[in-house]
Symmetry: C2
Subunit: 325 residues, 2 copies
């Protein structure tokens, strides 16, 4: 059996409700007894029982994160950032790498204060009975009506990349990212690409979208190699993600190409890592910090009252110049 407030109360010689108050630093308790309680708690190795507490308070202070379990630097970085912000607000983030279904069930059983769904958690499996449940928000994409989401406007971000490149005079612009079997989030990107080309008055050519299939750096490397074989070589390329970009510049370096002289590159994913690559890469996207803030705020509001948060929180992407274009 682990130590409870009753054990402490015996030690100190006060009632256990006084101990409870002392532990919660209530102003109703005399400083001196507070101190004694704290000391006894320390000495006995007391650990509060969250279950008991939450049973009465109806709050756990837990935020469940349904993690796609994908090794992508951009995602890890974002989740870390979110976790920190939540901690500042007194909330504790817990990740589950189970199937979304199971993960959600676990967090509901735990009575997490809110659930955050990461993008790849595939939409349709998530059945939600009409009953009031744990507030749930999704990041990146609308998962289900009734689950508000934070939208980072990937379409607009990529469009902006094209606009920027076109503005600098580039006309042979390629896009590397998942294409044929892309998820909705990834589709948005090449839609933005086409839109940008159109606005810039550049005729779209099918072969200038190179399908990377996946989103890992290996995929970027492969796609870039493939791109460089094109008879008419692009002079600029837009990468669909940080990890892809890392692979792409690796391929360029392998071919002895210099950036941006031989070929320019702008990548999606506005994260600090981008600066650390061998060649600091210009980026488009909503800054990681802004996403983290928006997500945290939305989560907090959802905890207050889920009806209080709009179905879609839209963030505005920006372009950050570095040395790659």
């Amino acid at each position: 059996m682990s130590v409870t407030i009753k054990d402490i109360s015996k030690q100190v010689g006060v009632s256990y409700s006084t101990v409870a108050k002392a532990l919660n630093n209530s102003p109703l308790v005399k400083e001196s007894t507070k101190r004694k309680v704290m000391e006894a708690a320390e000495a006995l190795g007391y650990t509060p029982n969250l279950a008991a507490r939450s049973l009465v308070t109806k709050r756990t202070g837990l935020v469940g994160i349904v993690w796609p379990g994908i090794d992508r630097a951009a995602l890890s970085s974002l989740v870390t950032s979110i976790q920190r912000r939540l901690a500042e607000k007194g909330l504790t983030a817990l990740l589950s790498i189970h199937e979304p279904q199971e993960a959600i069930a676990t967090f509901e059983n735990l009575r997490a204060d809110a659930i955050l769904l990461f993008e790849e958690s595939t939409a349709d499996i998530i059945a939600r009975p009409s009953h009031r449940r744990t507030p749930m928000i999704s990041i990146g994409m609308p998962i289900k009506p009734g689950v508000p989401y934070v939208d980072m406007n990937r379409r607009e971000a990529i469009r902006l990349a094209v606009e920027t490149l076109a503005g600098k005079g580039y006309e042979r612009i390629a896009y590397i990212g998942p294409y044929a079997e892309a998820s909705m989030q990834q589709q948005e990107k090449w839609i933005g690409f086409k839109e940008g080309l159109h606005q810039a008055g550049i005729t779209f050519q099918e072969e200038w979208i190179i399908d990377s299939r996946g989103l890992l750096w290996q995929d970027g490397y492969r796609a870039a190699k493939q791109m460089l074989k094109l008879s008419e070589r692009p002079t600029a390329v837009i990468s669909g993600s940080y990890d892809l970009a890392a692979g792409i510049i690796r391929a360029f370096q392998g071919e002895g190409l210099s950036v941006p002289q031989d070929i320019a590159i702008i990548s999606y994913d506005h994260i600090p890592h981008m600066e650390q690559l061998e060649i600091p890469i210009s980026a488009v996207g909503v800054a990681e910090a802004d996403i983290a803030t928006a997500v945290t705020d939305t989560l907090l509001r959802a905890i207050e009252s889920i009806d209080n948060v709009s179905d879609r929180t839209s963030l505005t992407p920006a372009y950050i110049h570095r040395e790659s274009d």
Copy 2:
């Protein structure tokens, strides 16, 4: 308020204790009422309250994993594997990416049935009062006396790699991995390297350990490039991890080197991913599946009784031949 067993009992017209039994599929309950209860539960959208349950059962079925939050494929892969095995045993894995201190506190408050520490969780911060607490085991390294660990014998694994290479006639063997400021786990590896050389009667040369600094693929790439500049080029190289190996072969390909003709490679990390690299890489180490099994078993035994598990569970590494040596 969410739905409780009392709500169900009202619906069905039985006492809530009967509902409880029905929900737990007790044989003491008539099939027909069981069915009615289940239906009502479903209809009302009942979600069991883990807090209330665990308060009386003293078990949560939760295993807390303290995650170093490092982007390494080998680790993600392993944790996923562990998670699956735990699920088979009816346990739910939850990850925390907080600081080890906080993470442990969280899991203790939650009354997780056990805590699993991943290697990089730096040892000394983990203070443990003498009181009985949540069983805790660590993977990879002894963290603290009293915290049993599962040892994958990295030293022996790398030694085996050297032996294998030497047995095939290679004499100019290099090692790429963290060196100068390596953690204890990483030190073990180059100790195994030196040991292997010694046994093979090869004189150790300082410059044949190339310090990768980190453990990411970028680090491997950089170190390999550096290695290739050596006046006397190695004919075989041992990589300290999967991710490093990925970077290393990338570098080789960039230089137009073919594996294993121009240079052979064996890597630490016995994981499935190794097969998927452009060049399937021979590996040494304890198979991921075996680690996962050992960890899960140890965890289960620790939950039974922490005294029941030995301080060190030692696993035996193996060599797996692929096409890289």
